[in-house]
Symmetry: C3
């Protein structure tokens, strides 16, 4: 792994070195708990200052106010987390393949591959595809006819992009993701199903990030659209004609049904499900495994489900819950009875009925 | 994109042209909202007639009763949705590769590939595979030993079919789907797990459609079976020895546990889970994200879960819910007390105990 | 399919033949219900003894006490299920490819492939990869730079292992699984998201089994770790820095959020979700589709959710449930009122207010 001096690192993130030698070698980033003496670590949250007393880190990115009393080497910065985020890219060992087309790739003669792009072994590029400058198509990825991939995109190993889809610049498609296969469109027909060809596309705007084994179906007629800077985790299912707003984050295992629109700056935690044909406004947060069954027009946080419990307690609850409607009716009866009992004595107010 | 005249289209779907020129060029299908003047659109549901007043569509597939008052060009048909579904196939740009084996495919010498079939670049066909007439194996798809693929099937890019599985005719396996890998069969053994080899197959009958990244495990002993015309969306997990009835539709992200049987003409909405070793009868509808824990013997609609709410309200509900059993007991106590209070006064009926 | 004699089989599992000919040919394993006369079956659970009366099996693995009254050929063993599990491997037709590198594989010159290993067609092996003795990399699998694969591993068709990940011995990665792609790590930045490079690895210890289309993300800094003998089913999402204990079993469609630790010998049923940064102790069982939102420190079984019901009943329940907090308050009011009514009569204690 490439090594850096403390001085190099301080220069990258604009840090002041306190109590260390700018020539000290740093060969890795690590958490305070795991760091060894040649590693750089960081303290992002003052609540974890106690970890400073035991860390073996060679140096720590830290705010000056948190560094008081810390005897080790400190790299003083205003925002240690941002500095750490920036530095990860310097310590990243993700291969950066050289440009060109691998002899074991399959590239159609009509495809236009920028000479700074890279097409790896066993990648397949169909007719009339356009791959922009600096983009990388990793091994086993398949790019369908007429797909346009912008600049500095990365299509990771074994991902698939089907015909006519469009990617902006700096889009990442992680391994196994399938972009632009058919939406689940069938018309009932003679007791069975008649397939409706899906003739829309998937359009991914700049800086979109699509996780591993996520599937984004092409539109039935209009396009399925993911707007700029949206980030989508692994194993998310996005059905046809969904539209996702800019900078929205969707965590793993969510499922978004067809023709649903999600606003900008939303956050969906893991395992959330949305029914089709609804609209979620901007800045909505949905907690894990919630099911959303109608449109949300007010930003805020939404949830469904029940808290977990021991299975024994849960079973008692579940049995009671099935009788909740009956229980509510019994309560109404009780309220009536108690109201009657609370009235002046019957013999003093006999006109009750 | 291929263009058609209105006259061509009217002939395909048996429509009557009203208020238009049969030589008018139509180069796309679109929704009423998105359609431009060279596009054909459709009105399937009378409720949306208002969209006719603003659509830019060059022509609209429409029932005659809905066309009254519509001044644009109408293609009068009895069932506009069916006509639209039929026409999508004429406007579909999904590549139709020519027959033959791509030089960068890997096909075992013992495989029998019909001469009208297509094997794309980087597809791999193992020993003794049989691929029927008109079937297409797209790039990166892997077909295991002795698999039999019927006629006019399409195995999309990077799908996998493992050894000995059987596909009928007109079966589609979308990208990234894995058919016939091992079921999750392990016997407890000395505090760990002993792998049980999975020696059954997956059998997919005619006209089955399997979504992207869906996984269908091979049977432990007997086969896993999907009957004729069943349609299964993306990211569905079907465990070993599941049997799914004809024309059943399963939406995205469902999980079906081992040895469960689902009848014909069922509909599972997205994210539904079924435990193992149960039977669901024909014509059952299960709403989104429901968990089914025992057999269903009566057709109808089934649900579980809670309605979503603001997270603040939901938290209050969730706390109360954990005490529902206690609450039910308190209500029973109240009922007893109120019953006692409602009795004739104690001094008039002292034989209560 | 290879055939065996009853005598061969009895020798493998240490069975005593009762009522059969040791030269009888057995050409398959099957359930009691499906077995034909050339098949071996088994009775693991005495409760299913009735199936013995109708089975067509040529022979049955059975405990001697269950064999009383069974007139067919019995292979008497102490543990029929274990004997069956063992025999499945003899009847398994999963191809066992011969060693060597297929001419259509792509193997970097710096990779070290044991001569007993197998690299299939269209598999891609990057620089400095090490593949141990007896390991198989199936077609379309992609192994990233510097990955180390131990002995007798099997990387199934179209699986991906990204750079620097480490596999012990006898690890199986089923088709479409993605090991070591990036964790979902982004820092909020100017209203959008700044990507944090993920520089940890995935480490899979000996005898780990990873299901189809399961995704295991590489660590942000530290590694994501799956300990010895853990078995993970299909379509499971394991986020960065998760640690899973030895011999834990995770069924299909579970999602484990980042930095969560699961102990040893746990069982997660299908569709379970865990939030991030929690710890689950050893020997915890979580029932299907449960969501776990905080650490569990006591072994046992845990659940969440509601029992399913007809959609009509469920709707009534769901409506009542949204008012559960109000209902609880009304009950408290009722309790107060009833308590007051139960007090000595007002006219005898008029100082109530």
């Amino acid at each position: 792994m490439k090594s850096w001096t403390l001085g190099d690192i301080a220069a990258i993130v604009g840090a002041t070195i306190r109590g260390g030698d700018s020539n000290q070698i740093i060969d890795g980033l690590a958490t305070l708990k795991s760091a060894q003496s040649s590693h750089l670590s960081f303290l992002a949250n003052s609540l974890y200052r106690a970890a400073l007393t035991t860390t073996q880190a060679g140096a720590v990115l830290i705010r000056s106010q948190d560094a008081e009393g810390y005897g080790g080497c400190a790299l003083l910065v205003a925002n240690p987390y941002a500095a750490y985020a920036q530095l990860t890219h310097h310590f990243d060992r993700t291969p950066k393949p050289s440009s060109g087309i691998h002899p074991q790739a399959s590239v159609h003669a009509s495809a236009v591959i920028d000479e700074s792009a890279c097409i790896a072994a066993c990648a397949v590029i169909a007719e009339e595809v356009i791959i922009g400058a600096g983009s990388i198509v990793e091994s086993g990825a398949v790019i369908g006819a007429r797909v346009r991939v912008g600049k500095n995109c990365r299509i990771r190993a074994n991902a698939v992009i089907h015909h006519d889809c469009v990617l902006g610049d700096r889009v990442t498609i992680h391994s196994g993701a399938i972009i632009g296969d058919d939406g689940f469109g069938f018309a009932p027909h003679q007791g069975g199903w008649f397939k409706i060809a899906q003739i829309g596309r998937v359009v991914l705007h700049n800086d979109v990030d699509i996780g591993c084994n996520t599937t984004i179906d092409r539109g039935a007629l209009d396009d399925t659209i993911i707007h700029e800077g949206a980030i989508i985790d692994n194993q998310v299912h996005i059905a046809h004609n969904v539209v996702i707003g800019a900078h929205t984050a969707i965590a793993g295992c969510c499922g978004i049904s067809g023709s649903t629109t999600i606003g900008a700056h939303c956050v969906l935690a893991g395992g959330v499900g949305l029914v089709g044909h609804i609209e979620i406004c901007d800045k909505v947060h949905i907690t894990g495994m919630t099911m959303i069954t109608k449109s949300i027009t007010k930003s805020g946080s939404y949830s469904s489900g029940t808290a977990f419990d021991s299975t024994d307690n849960w079973k008692k609850m579940a049995v009671r819950l099935k009788k909740l409607d009956e229980m509510a009716k019994r309560m109404r009866e009780l309220e009536k009875l108690v109201q009657q009992l609370s009235l002046p004595k019957p013999d003093e107010s006999a006109h009750d009925g």
